[in-house]
Protein backbone atom coordinates (compact mmCIF):
# COMPACT_ATOMS: atom_id res chain seq x y z
CA UNK A 1 0.00 0.00 0.00
CA UNK A 2 2.71 2.45 0.98
CA UNK A 3 3.72 4.62 -1.91
CA UNK A 4 7.32 5.68 -1.67
CA UNK A 5 6.38 9.33 -1.61
CA UNK A 6 8.41 11.64 0.58
CA UNK A 7 8.23 15.40 0.89
CA UNK A 8 10.67 17.48 2.90
CA UNK A 9 9.79 19.53 5.92
CA UNK A 10 9.91 22.86 4.07
CA UNK A 11 7.31 21.64 1.58
CA UNK A 12 5.22 20.42 4.48
CA UNK A 13 5.54 23.85 6.14
CA UNK A 14 4.08 25.43 3.00
CA UNK A 15 1.24 22.94 2.82
CA UNK A 16 0.35 23.56 6.47
CA UNK A 17 0.46 27.32 5.95
CA UNK A 18 -1.82 27.18 2.94
CA UNK A 19 -4.12 24.75 4.73
CA UNK A 20 -4.46 27.03 7.78
CA UNK A 21 -5.11 30.08 5.61
CA UNK A 22 -7.45 28.15 3.31
CA UNK A 23 -11.02 29.11 3.95
CA UNK A 24 -10.29 31.32 6.93
CA UNK A 25 -9.03 34.06 4.64
CA UNK A 26 -12.49 34.34 3.08
CA UNK A 27 -14.98 33.90 5.87
CA UNK A 28 -13.33 34.10 9.27
CA UNK A 29 -13.12 37.93 9.66
CA UNK A 30 -16.87 38.21 9.14
CA UNK A 31 -17.70 35.35 11.52
CA UNK A 32 -15.45 36.81 14.23
CA UNK A 33 -16.74 40.34 13.82
CA UNK A 34 -20.34 39.17 14.20
CA UNK A 35 -19.83 38.17 17.83
CA UNK A 36 -16.80 40.09 19.04
CA UNK A 37 -17.31 43.35 17.07
CA UNK A 38 -14.13 45.45 17.00
CA UNK A 39 -12.26 42.91 19.15
CA UNK A 40 -12.27 40.33 16.35
CA UNK A 41 -8.52 40.56 15.99
CA UNK A 42 -8.01 39.75 19.69
CA UNK A 43 -10.13 36.65 19.14
CA UNK A 44 -7.87 35.70 16.25
CA UNK A 45 -4.75 36.07 18.42
CA UNK A 46 -6.33 34.02 21.20
CA UNK A 47 -7.49 31.39 18.70
CA UNK A 48 -4.05 31.06 17.15
CA UNK A 49 -2.56 30.40 20.58
CA UNK A 50 -5.07 27.67 21.42
CA UNK A 51 -4.74 26.30 17.88
CA UNK A 52 -1.04 25.72 18.43
CA UNK A 53 -1.91 23.56 21.44
CA UNK A 54 -4.22 21.48 19.25
CA UNK A 55 -1.44 21.05 16.68
CA UNK A 56 0.90 20.03 19.48
CA UNK A 57 -1.59 17.30 20.41
CA UNK A 58 -1.55 16.04 16.82
CA UNK A 59 2.26 15.99 16.87
CA UNK A 60 2.27 13.97 20.09
CA UNK A 61 -0.08 11.45 18.56
CA UNK A 62 1.99 11.30 15.39
CA UNK A 63 5.34 10.74 17.03
CA UNK A 64 4.30 7.38 18.51
CA UNK A 65 3.78 5.94 15.03
CA UNK A 66 6.18 7.77 12.73
CA UNK A 67 5.51 5.51 9.74
CA UNK A 68 1.74 5.29 9.75
CA UNK A 69 -1.03 7.51 8.46
CA UNK A 70 -3.93 8.51 10.68
CA UNK A 71 -6.14 5.71 9.30
CA UNK A 72 -3.52 3.10 10.16
CA UNK A 73 -2.96 4.65 13.60
CA UNK A 74 -6.65 4.42 14.55
CA UNK A 75 -6.70 0.84 13.31
CA UNK A 76 -3.65 0.00 15.37
CA UNK A 77 -4.85 1.66 18.56
CA UNK A 78 -8.57 0.86 18.49
CA UNK A 79 -8.35 -2.56 16.89
CA UNK A 80 -9.36 -3.61 13.41
CA UNK A 81 -13.12 -3.18 13.31
CA UNK A 82 -13.65 -0.25 15.66
CA UNK A 83 -10.68 1.43 14.02
CA UNK A 84 -12.14 0.99 10.56
CA UNK A 85 -15.52 2.35 11.68
CA UNK A 86 -13.89 5.43 13.21
CA UNK A 87 -11.72 5.88 10.12
CA UNK A 88 -14.85 5.84 7.98
CA UNK A 89 -16.18 8.80 9.99
CA UNK A 90 -12.87 10.57 9.44
CA UNK A 91 -12.99 9.93 5.70
CA UNK A 92 -16.61 11.06 5.62
CA UNK A 93 -15.59 14.32 7.27
CA UNK A 94 -12.76 15.08 4.87
CA UNK A 95 -14.93 14.18 1.91
CA UNK A 96 -17.80 16.39 3.06
CA UNK A 97 -15.39 19.26 3.69
CA UNK A 98 -13.77 18.80 0.29
CA UNK A 99 -17.14 19.29 -1.34
CA UNK A 100 -18.07 22.16 0.95
CA UNK A 101 -14.85 23.96 0.00
CA UNK A 102 -15.72 23.35 -3.63
CA UNK A 103 -19.01 25.06 -2.86
CA UNK A 104 -17.10 28.00 -1.32
CA UNK A 105 -14.91 28.50 -4.35
CA UNK A 106 -17.91 28.08 -6.65
CA UNK A 107 -20.04 30.66 -4.84
CA UNK A 108 -17.14 33.05 -4.45
CA UNK A 109 -16.33 33.02 -8.17
CA UNK A 110 -19.99 33.03 -9.07
CA UNK A 111 -21.03 36.01 -6.96
CA UNK A 112 -17.96 38.18 -7.47
CA UNK A 113 -16.18 37.37 -10.69
CA UNK A 114 -18.31 35.37 -13.12
CA UNK A 115 -21.98 35.98 -12.34
CA UNK A 116 -23.29 34.63 -15.65
CA UNK A 117 -21.49 31.30 -15.52
CA UNK A 118 -23.47 28.49 -13.89
CA UNK A 119 -21.92 27.29 -10.64
CA UNK A 120 -21.70 23.71 -11.94
CA UNK A 121 -19.21 24.77 -14.59
CA UNK A 122 -16.98 26.54 -12.07
CA UNK A 123 -17.14 23.57 -9.69
CA UNK A 124 -16.30 21.11 -12.44
CA UNK A 125 -13.30 23.19 -13.53
CA UNK A 126 -12.01 23.38 -9.96
CA UNK A 127 -12.67 19.67 -9.42
CA UNK A 128 -10.73 18.75 -12.56
CA UNK A 129 -7.54 20.44 -11.34
CA UNK A 130 -8.03 18.96 -7.88
CA UNK A 131 -8.39 15.44 -9.28
CA UNK A 132 -5.39 16.10 -11.49
CA UNK A 133 -3.29 17.16 -8.51
CA UNK A 134 -4.28 14.18 -6.41
CA UNK A 135 -3.65 11.73 -9.27
CA UNK A 136 -0.18 13.14 -9.82
CA UNK A 137 0.59 12.57 -6.18
CA UNK A 138 1.66 14.40 -3.06
CA UNK A 139 5.10 15.34 -4.35
CA UNK A 140 3.61 17.23 -7.28
CA UNK A 141 1.13 19.02 -5.02
CA UNK A 142 3.93 20.00 -2.64
CA UNK A 143 6.17 21.30 -5.44
CA UNK A 144 3.42 23.38 -7.00
CA UNK A 145 2.67 24.76 -3.54
CA UNK A 146 6.32 25.75 -3.28
CA UNK A 147 5.99 27.84 -6.44
CA UNK A 148 2.61 29.34 -5.71
CA UNK A 149 3.38 30.35 -2.12
CA UNK A 150 5.78 33.02 -3.42
CA UNK A 151 3.04 34.43 -5.57
CA UNK A 152 0.69 34.23 -2.62
CA UNK A 153 2.89 36.16 -0.21
CA UNK A 154 3.84 38.83 -2.76
CA UNK A 155 0.15 39.49 -3.40
CA UNK A 156 -0.56 39.43 0.33
CA UNK A 157 2.21 41.96 0.94
CA UNK A 158 0.76 44.20 -1.77
CA UNK A 159 -2.68 43.95 -0.19
CA UNK A 160 -1.38 44.87 3.26
CA UNK A 161 0.84 47.72 2.01
CA UNK A 162 -1.76 49.25 -0.28
CA UNK A 163 -4.60 49.12 2.21
CA UNK A 164 -2.62 50.41 5.20
CA UNK A 165 -3.25 54.14 4.42
CA UNK A 166 -6.97 53.48 4.89
CA UNK A 167 -6.61 52.14 8.43
CA UNK A 168 -8.63 54.10 10.97
CA UNK A 169 -7.75 53.31 14.54
CA UNK A 170 -11.06 54.72 15.79
CA UNK A 171 -12.68 51.62 14.30
CA UNK A 172 -10.94 49.25 16.69
CA UNK A 173 -11.65 51.33 19.78
CA UNK A 174 -12.70 50.67 22.51
CA UNK A 175 -10.34 47.73 22.79
CA UNK A 176 -11.46 44.67 24.76
CA UNK A 177 -15.07 45.75 24.98
CA UNK A 178 -16.34 42.25 24.17
CA UNK A 179 -15.10 40.66 27.39
CA UNK A 180 -13.36 37.35 28.01
CA UNK A 181 -16.46 35.18 27.69
CA UNK A 182 -17.39 36.36 24.19
CA UNK A 183 -13.79 36.14 23.05
CA UNK A 184 -13.45 32.53 24.17
CA UNK A 185 -16.81 31.60 22.67
CA UNK A 186 -16.21 33.12 19.27
CA UNK A 187 -12.67 31.79 19.06
CA UNK A 188 -14.17 28.28 18.82
CA UNK A 189 -15.05 28.64 15.16
CA UNK A 190 -11.66 30.19 14.40
CA UNK A 191 -9.82 27.28 16.01
CA UNK A 192 -12.06 24.87 14.13
CA UNK A 193 -11.21 26.26 10.71
CA UNK A 194 -7.47 26.79 11.17
CA UNK A 195 -6.36 24.08 13.57
CA UNK A 196 -8.90 21.39 14.42
CA UNK A 197 -9.59 20.57 10.78
CA UNK A 198 -5.83 20.21 10.31
CA UNK A 199 -6.36 16.65 11.52
CA UNK A 200 -6.60 15.67 7.85
CA UNK A 201 -2.91 16.62 7.58
CA UNK A 202 -2.20 13.62 9.80
CA UNK A 203 -2.79 11.58 6.65
CA UNK A 204 0.50 12.92 5.29
CA UNK A 205 2.29 14.16 8.38
CA UNK A 206 4.27 11.33 9.91
CA UNK A 207 4.12 8.87 7.03
CA UNK A 208 5.20 10.83 3.98
CA UNK A 209 7.75 13.18 5.55
CA UNK A 210 11.43 12.41 5.36
CA UNK A 211 12.61 14.04 8.59
CA UNK A 212 10.17 13.78 11.45
CA UNK A 213 11.81 16.13 13.97
CA UNK A 214 11.95 19.08 11.58
CA UNK A 215 8.49 18.35 10.25
CA UNK A 216 7.03 18.62 13.73
CA UNK A 217 8.50 22.10 14.00
CA UNK A 218 7.20 23.05 10.58
CA UNK A 219 3.69 21.84 11.49
CA UNK A 220 3.69 24.32 14.40
CA UNK A 221 5.39 27.14 12.48
CA UNK A 222 3.14 26.69 9.45
CA UNK A 223 0.07 26.93 11.63
CA UNK A 224 1.50 30.02 13.32
CA UNK A 225 2.19 31.73 9.97
CA UNK A 226 -1.34 30.91 8.85
CA UNK A 227 -2.67 32.34 12.10
CA UNK A 228 -0.65 35.55 11.71
CA UNK A 229 -1.97 36.06 8.17
CA UNK A 230 -5.53 35.72 9.47
CA UNK A 231 -4.83 38.04 12.42
CA UNK A 232 -3.50 40.72 10.05
CA UNK A 233 -6.44 40.33 7.69
CA UNK A 234 -8.98 40.45 10.51
CA UNK A 235 -7.35 43.53 11.98
CA UNK A 236 -7.30 45.25 8.58
CA UNK A 237 -10.93 44.35 7.84
CA UNK A 238 -12.14 45.68 11.16
CA UNK A 239 -10.02 48.83 11.09
CA UNK A 240 -10.75 49.72 7.47
CA UNK A 241 -14.35 48.64 7.07
CA UNK A 242 -15.50 48.97 10.67
CA UNK A 243 -16.88 46.17 12.82
CA UNK A 244 -20.48 46.34 11.58
CA UNK A 245 -19.55 46.36 7.93
CA UNK A 246 -17.16 43.46 8.42
CA UNK A 247 -19.89 41.44 10.06
CA UNK A 248 -22.42 42.26 7.37
CA UNK A 249 -20.05 41.55 4.51
CA UNK A 250 -19.86 37.91 3.40
CA UNK A 251 -16.28 38.15 2.10
CA UNK A 252 -14.81 41.09 4.07
CA UNK A 253 -11.25 40.60 2.89
CA UNK A 254 -12.42 40.82 -0.73
CA UNK A 255 -14.21 44.05 0.12
CA UNK A 256 -10.89 45.19 1.57
CA UNK A 257 -9.18 44.65 -1.78
CA UNK A 258 -11.88 46.76 -3.44
CA UNK A 259 -11.07 49.69 -1.14
CA UNK A 260 -7.46 49.90 -2.32
CA UNK A 261 -6.88 53.33 -3.78
CA UNK A 262 -3.35 54.60 -4.20
CA UNK A 263 -3.23 58.18 -5.46
CA UNK A 264 -6.39 57.61 -7.57
CA UNK A 265 -4.23 55.48 -9.82
CA UNK A 266 -3.96 51.96 -8.40
CA UNK A 267 -7.53 50.97 -7.64
CA UNK A 268 -9.99 48.12 -8.17
CA UNK A 269 -7.33 45.45 -8.22
CA UNK A 270 -9.52 42.94 -6.40
CA UNK A 271 -9.62 40.54 -9.33
CA UNK A 272 -5.86 40.20 -8.98
CA UNK A 273 -6.25 39.70 -5.25
CA UNK A 274 -8.77 36.93 -5.89
CA UNK A 275 -5.74 34.83 -6.86
CA UNK A 276 -4.91 34.75 -3.13
CA UNK A 277 -8.22 33.12 -2.31
CA UNK A 278 -8.11 30.70 -5.21
CA UNK A 279 -4.59 29.51 -4.37
CA UNK A 280 -5.37 28.98 -0.70
CA UNK A 281 -8.74 27.34 -1.39
CA UNK A 282 -7.25 25.08 -4.04
CA UNK A 283 -4.61 23.64 -1.74
CA UNK A 284 -6.98 23.20 1.15
CA UNK A 285 -9.52 21.40 -1.02
CA UNK A 286 -6.80 19.24 -2.56
CA UNK A 287 -5.53 18.20 0.85
CA UNK A 288 -9.04 17.31 2.02
CA UNK A 289 -9.67 15.36 -1.16
CA UNK A 290 -6.29 13.64 -0.96
CA UNK A 291 -6.98 12.62 2.64
CA UNK A 292 -10.37 11.16 1.77
CA UNK A 293 -9.18 9.26 -1.31
CA UNK A 294 -6.11 7.85 0.42
CA UNK A 295 -8.27 7.12 3.47
CA UNK A 296 -10.77 5.06 1.49
CA UNK A 297 -7.93 3.18 -0.22
CA UNK A 298 -6.30 2.39 3.12
CA UNK A 299 -9.52 1.34 4.85
CA UNK A 300 -10.17 -1.17 2.06
CA UNK A 301 -6.49 -2.19 1.86
CA UNK A 302 -6.17 -1.24 -1.79
CA UNK A 303 -2.77 -1.22 -3.45
CA UNK A 304 -3.28 2.08 -5.28
CA UNK A 305 -5.53 5.04 -4.61
CA UNK A 306 -5.33 6.56 -8.09
CA UNK A 307 -8.21 4.66 -9.76
CA UNK A 308 -10.61 6.08 -7.15
CA UNK A 309 -9.87 9.73 -7.83
CA UNK A 310 -12.05 10.33 -10.89
CA UNK A 311 -15.25 8.63 -9.63
CA UNK A 312 -14.86 10.35 -6.25
CA UNK A 313 -14.29 13.62 -8.09
CA UNK A 314 -17.65 13.17 -9.79
CA UNK A 315 -19.34 12.56 -6.44
CA UNK A 316 -17.64 15.60 -4.92
CA UNK A 317 -18.97 17.84 -7.68
CA UNK A 318 -22.52 16.59 -7.19
CA UNK A 319 -22.26 16.94 -3.41
CA UNK A 320 -20.89 20.46 -3.72
CA UNK A 321 -24.11 21.44 -5.47
CA UNK A 322 -26.30 19.66 -2.95
CA UNK A 323 -24.84 20.14 0.54
CA UNK A 324 -25.65 23.81 0.99
CA UNK A 325 -28.98 24.78 -0.58
CA UNK A 326 -28.18 28.44 0.09
CA UNK A 327 -25.75 30.69 1.88
CA UNK A 328 -27.97 31.18 4.93
CA UNK A 329 -28.13 27.42 5.42
CA UNK A 330 -24.35 27.32 5.12
CA UNK A 331 -23.72 29.98 7.74
CA UNK A 332 -26.24 28.43 10.08
CA UNK A 333 -24.78 24.95 9.62
CA UNK A 334 -21.21 26.15 10.10
CA UNK A 335 -22.10 27.97 13.30
CA UNK A 336 -23.85 24.99 14.93
CA UNK A 337 -23.46 21.46 13.60
CA UNK A 338 -20.21 22.13 11.75
CA UNK A 339 -18.43 23.11 14.95
CA UNK A 340 -19.57 20.00 16.84
CA UNK A 341 -18.77 17.73 13.91
CA UNK A 342 -15.25 19.12 13.50
CA UNK A 343 -14.50 19.10 17.20
CA UNK A 344 -15.71 15.56 17.72
CA UNK A 345 -13.47 14.26 14.95
CA UNK A 346 -10.62 16.74 15.12
CA UNK A 347 -10.25 17.06 18.88
CA UNK A 348 -12.25 14.41 20.71
CA UNK A 349 -11.04 11.54 18.53
CA UNK A 350 -7.29 12.27 18.94
CA UNK A 351 -7.80 12.71 22.69
CA UNK A 352 -9.58 9.35 22.78
CA UNK A 353 -6.71 7.78 20.84
CA UNK A 354 -4.19 9.24 23.29
CA UNK A 355 -6.11 7.83 26.27
CA UNK A 356 -6.55 4.38 24.70
CA UNK A 357 -2.89 4.35 23.71
CA UNK A 358 -1.86 5.15 27.27
CA UNK A 359 -3.95 2.20 28.51
CA UNK A 360 -2.87 -0.28 25.84
CA UNK A 361 0.74 0.88 25.67
CA UNK A 362 2.38 -2.32 26.90
CA UNK A 363 0.18 -4.54 24.79
CA UNK A 364 0.90 -2.51 21.66
CA UNK A 365 4.62 -2.45 22.30
CA UNK A 366 4.75 -6.25 22.55
CA UNK A 367 3.32 -6.86 19.10
CA UNK A 368 6.25 -6.57 16.67
CA UNK A 369 4.44 -4.89 13.79
CA UNK A 370 3.69 -1.69 15.72
CA UNK A 371 7.29 -0.51 15.57
CA UNK A 372 7.82 -0.86 11.86
CA UNK A 373 5.79 -1.25 8.70
Amino acid sequence: MMQNVKINSYQFLILVTLFSIGTSILIVPSVLATAAKQDAWIVAIFGTGIGLLVIWLFCTLAQWFPHLTFIQVTEKILGKWVGKAVSLLFVFMSFIYASSLLFYSGTFLNTHLMPNTPMVALNILMAIIIVMGVRLGLETIARSAEILILFFFVLFLFLVLFISPEVKFENVQPVYEAGTRTIVQSSLSFIEVTSVNAIVLLMIFPAFINKFKQAKKSFLIGNLIGGIVIIILTFLSVSVLGADNTAAEFYPSYELAKRINLGDFIQRIEALMAALWIIALYFKTTLYFYASVLGIAQILNLKDYRPLTIPLGMIVVVLSLVIYPNVVYQQNWNATTGIFFSYSIGLFLPLLLVVVYAIRKKQLKKSPESSSV
Binding site: N301, L302, K303, D304, I310, M314, T336, T337
Partner: protein, 77 residues
Amino acid sequence: MLKSMGILLIATAILLIEVPPLLEKKYKKELLVFSILLVIGVGLSIAQGLGKTIPNPMDLLTYMFKPLNDVIAHLSK
Protein backbone atom coordinates in the same frame (compact mmCIF):
# COMPACT_ATOMS: atom_id res chain seq x y z
CA MET B 1 -31.85 13.77 -21.63
CA LEU B 2 -28.87 15.54 -23.18
CA LYS B 3 -27.27 15.88 -19.75
CA SER B 4 -27.63 12.17 -19.02
CA MET B 5 -26.14 11.31 -22.40
CA GLY B 6 -23.20 13.60 -21.70
CA ILE B 7 -22.60 12.09 -18.28
CA LEU B 8 -22.75 8.56 -19.72
CA LEU B 9 -20.26 9.57 -22.41
CA ILE B 10 -17.89 10.94 -19.78
CA ALA B 11 -18.31 7.75 -17.76
CA THR B 12 -17.38 5.69 -20.83
CA ALA B 13 -14.30 7.81 -21.33
CA ILE B 14 -13.30 7.28 -17.69
CA LEU B 15 -13.82 3.53 -18.06
CA LEU B 16 -11.65 3.45 -21.17
CA ILE B 17 -8.86 5.33 -19.40
CA GLU B 18 -8.94 3.54 -16.06
CA VAL B 19 -9.90 -0.08 -16.65
CA PRO B 20 -7.16 -1.43 -19.01
CA PRO B 21 -4.23 -0.68 -16.65
CA LEU B 22 -6.16 -2.21 -13.75
CA LEU B 23 -6.87 -5.39 -15.72
CA GLU B 24 -3.27 -5.56 -16.79
CA LYS B 25 -2.01 -5.45 -13.21
CA LYS B 26 -4.81 -7.82 -12.07
CA TYR B 27 -6.01 -5.40 -9.36
CA LYS B 28 -9.42 -7.03 -8.87
CA LYS B 29 -10.38 -5.35 -5.61
CA GLU B 30 -9.44 -1.92 -6.96
CA LEU B 31 -11.55 -2.57 -10.04
CA LEU B 32 -14.53 -3.53 -7.88
CA VAL B 33 -14.27 -0.41 -5.68
CA PHE B 34 -13.71 1.75 -8.73
CA SER B 35 -16.82 0.39 -10.45
CA ILE B 36 -19.01 0.83 -7.38
CA LEU B 37 -17.86 4.43 -6.92
CA LEU B 38 -18.31 5.16 -10.62
CA VAL B 39 -21.87 3.79 -10.55
CA ILE B 40 -22.66 5.96 -7.52
CA GLY B 41 -21.06 8.98 -9.19
CA VAL B 42 -22.92 8.51 -12.47
CA GLY B 43 -26.20 7.82 -10.66
CA LEU B 44 -25.91 10.96 -8.51
CA SER B 45 -24.85 13.11 -11.47
CA ILE B 46 -27.78 11.96 -13.62
CA ALA B 47 -30.21 12.45 -10.74
CA GLN B 48 -28.84 15.96 -10.22
CA GLY B 49 -28.93 16.65 -13.97
CA LEU B 50 -32.57 15.64 -14.17
CA GLY B 51 -33.37 17.93 -11.26
CA LYS B 52 -34.25 15.22 -8.72
CA THR B 53 -33.63 16.05 -5.06
CA ILE B 54 -30.65 14.25 -3.62
CA PRO B 55 -30.69 13.65 0.15
CA ASN B 56 -28.39 16.10 1.83
CA PRO B 57 -25.70 14.56 4.07
CA MET B 58 -25.57 17.80 6.06
CA ASP B 59 -29.16 17.25 7.21
CA LEU B 60 -28.17 13.82 8.51
CA LEU B 61 -25.32 15.40 10.49
CA THR B 62 -27.62 18.11 11.82
CA TYR B 63 -29.99 15.38 13.01
CA MET B 64 -27.14 13.46 14.63
CA PHE B 65 -25.75 16.45 16.49
CA LYS B 66 -29.09 17.98 17.45
CA PRO B 67 -29.15 16.70 21.06
CA LEU B 68 -25.64 18.03 21.70
CA ASN B 69 -26.52 21.28 19.98
CA ASP B 70 -29.60 21.74 22.18
CA VAL B 71 -27.64 21.07 25.37
CA ILE B 72 -24.92 23.57 24.45
CA ALA B 73 -27.47 26.19 23.41
CA HIS B 74 -29.23 25.73 26.73
CA LEU B 75 -25.99 26.01 28.72
CA SER B 76 -24.63 29.06 26.94
CA LYS B 77 -27.74 31.15 27.55
